[in-house]
Amino acid sequence: MKDQLDYLKVNAALGRISRREFFGRAAALGVTAVAANTMLAGAVRAAGPQKGGTIKVGIQGGGSGDSLDPALAANATMSQIVRMWGEPLVELADDGGLNGKVAESYSSSPDAKVWTFNIRPDITFSNGKTVTADDVLATIERHSGEDTKSGALGLLRGIKSMSAPDASTFVLELDAPNADLPYLMSDYHLMIQPNGGKDDPTACIGSGPYTLASADMGVRLVFEKNPNHWDSAIGHASTVELIIINDDTARVAALQSGQVHMVNRVPPRTAGLVGRAPNITIRSKSGPGHYVFIAHVDTAPFDNQDVMMALKYAMNREEMVEKILSGYGTVGNDTPINASYPLYTELEQRAYDPDKAAFHWKKSGQTDPVLLRTSDNAFPGAPDAAALFQQTCEAAGIPVEIKREPNDGYWSEVWNVQPFCTSYWGGRPTQDQMFTTAYLSTADWNDTRFKNEQFDQLLLAARAELDEAKRTQMYADMGSMVRDEGGLICPMFNDFIDGMSDEVAGFREGTPGFELMNFYAPIEMWVTA
């Protein structure tokens, strides 16, 4: 019987017999459906990627107003689009390090001020032109220029000079040391384009594994395999179709009815139910994204440390993860950093404690209610989370008033303007970026108005520190400062939840970055059929 099963497995994996037929015949040999499924999955992996076919992705986030210019990429759909046709210098690797893409390797001067990237030889753009260091230079120039609209501008401040001494070497000199610079180069805006995309930023010409065949923004985009791509280990499907489905229910229904092979952002509330279907697997992974309650610590009453501590102790983090994220997440600890960051140290977990909250509230001498602003736009379920928080605060004797704000204009009128509101952060690849973006005294988006000289000094020192153990300790200290003195109340880190049909294989657990295997799922997975 074993020989027969092995024969069937190989045939099914290679697509010579259909899955249905495999299950039927396996059942005839006395194998249960679950066991047969496990067997087949093992055989599919062993058989390796299959080439050809079409992968259809139901993706959330796009709109008809989207641009194809990678500099303006700002949502999940645009991030997926740029991955298809473009490549950055380097990309996050599964182990937390970096893989070379356009750059084959990189090195730095001992003081981490001058970085040299060696461009992969003999790779071409989809228009046939060879990729040179000049193209890389022009790309970085376009994203860091004075008049740029690039979303990566914030990352590229502090470049002193750039040069391309020869066709395969790109050199960056910084004003101040930065040990994390290569990580910044993995940003999804920084796709290398011919002449930096200065001629036509929306041409979608790059060195990526696919080329754009047709685009109807906010509706549907079709990509064909780039036959000249340098890495034959990726890009298995011959066609990838992105179908933009913003409605949650419609997106999940499309997966269930077999119209698409994978979807991003399955709503946590229904994920468990969806995953019960026999042909669908829910893939969730923790990421750096977190949902937050943020207070301006330079504004009354939040400038009173006791008020902040009272609010922090009044937050029931476990309940939030369970009720708002339906368990698809992890508890926060009032710092923006979690285990998904490379140099993470676990801090003592702050727990819900109404007695301590009441003690600090009394000590603060406050009696007026705290006004919390919220909106659905802050994060899915934000008004519910605010209501839960109001209840746990009430248990500690802290009066909280909730003001529901309109979704329209939430990011310009409420967030980073009003003293206390709900919000979210998508996270950043490194501690340095996260702290620099939102916790440095001079940061534009210091949305908690956290201003601490010692913290700023540590941040700059850590950036220049090439000794990992020392850096790790520095980041742990900084995390403690934010946790104990900051205006951030972080109840939860949200998981990325994808849905995958069993008609595609090759999913890898634990990839860093965003959803859909950091948007590499359509490129690195394959159709089993």
């Binding site: 008809s64 107003g65 989207d66 609209k149 229904a253 990011w411 310009s412």
Partner: protein, 318 residues
């Protein structure tokens, strides 16, 4: 000039005036929306420099009155401007979207209008008996349920459970008519269910009204069958109210399908409008608003003209 012609000309002139007033309303309405287009385009991750650069480029710093007249002038010459968000020509982008919306509305109308009128006639024929009650009961319940709920229910049972029709109504140029029709089966069904009751009830009421007249009794005494009386004698005299309600529903099929389009991910005007509203893309919102207003006013104008022309007293003055 006969009274009928004068009334028709009056109607059309009123329609144009209304459209002009609507254009002012749309323009001012979009100005007072909260939020900032540059912020909406660049999202939460925008830097102040990037915001300032984008605002400059979009020209949102000019005074509103100048912008209104520039916009109106453009619209009158067929130039709807360019979208702030992606710099594409609006007239061009709207063209294909409008075509899709009309395609969906057309097929929904082709099914819904004759079906509603037929059901209305049947309801009159079997007045107060079980077919009448069944027709009224079913159509009234489908109009009472919000359309997105009907959409989700059909999606789940017909699309996911039975697998008869796709849940995502994607249509593109590479599809032939058959494929396109299969693709839009569910939204057409939803729209039909939503507009059916209104037209059916109006047909029924209008005909019942006429059925009280003496000439119906005469026809009855001549020995005509009940259905023949309704179809040949009663229906032509109740056309005016029926056309009115049909036009209202046709207008709804074009301008009111936003929710259905979003639920079924159909690439029509509604979804296009929603995408751009969330991005504060004013020129697109204004253009869509104006087109919707024009469709609505035009269809209502046609209904008025038809009722004027179907009135023999106005057509043949003494």
């Amino acid at each position: 000039m006969g009274p009928a012609l004068r009334l028709v000309v009056q109607r059309i002139a009123l329609g144009l005036l209304l459209l002009f007033l609507v254009s002012i309303l749309i323009f001012w309405g979009t100005l007072i929306l909260p939020g900032d287009v540059a912020q909406a385009i660049l999202g939460q991750s925008a830097t102040p420099e990037a915001l300032a650069n984008l605002r400059d480029e979009l020209g949102v710093n000019d005074p509103p009155l100048t912008r209104y007249f520039e916009w109106l002038g453009g619209v009158l010459t067929g130039d709807l401007g360019t979208a702030l968000t992606n710099g594409k020509d609006i007239a061009e982008s709207i063209g294909s979207r409008l075509e899709n919306t009309l395609f969906l509305a057309f097929w929904a109308a082709v099914i819904a209008v004759p079906l509603a009128i037929l059901l209305g006639l049947l309801a009159v024929r079997y007045r107060d008996r079980w077919p009448d009650k069944l027709i009224s009961g079913v159509t009234l319940s489908t109009i009472s349920i919000p359309e997105f709920l009907i959409g989700y229910v059909l999606m789940y049972f017909v699309g996911v459970k039975l697998g008869w029709a796709p849940t995502v109504s994607m249509i593109h140029d590479g599809m032939n008519l058959g494929q396109k029709l299969h693709s839009i089966a569910l939204p057409v069904a939803v729209l039909t269910l939503v507009v059916l009751a209104h037209m059916m009830r109006m047909t029924r009421a209008a005909i019942l009204n006429v059925m009280q007249s003496p000439y119906i009794e005469t026809a009855d005494l001549k020995g005509l069958t009940k259905f023949n009386i309704i179809w040949k004698h009663a229906f032509p005299n109740s056309i005016s109210p029926v056309v009115n309600v049909v036009m209202l529903n046709l207008a709804y099929l074009v301008v009111g399908v936003v929710v259905v389009e979003v639920v079924f991910t159909y690439p029509g005007m509604g979804q296009y409008l929603v995408d751009h509203v969330s991005k504060r893309d004013l020129p697109v919102v204004q253009a869509c608003g104006l087109i919707f207003a024009a469709v609505y006013i035009t269809l209502n104008m046609i209904a008025d003209v038809v009722s004027i022309l179907s009135n023999p007293k106005l057509r043949h003055p003494k």
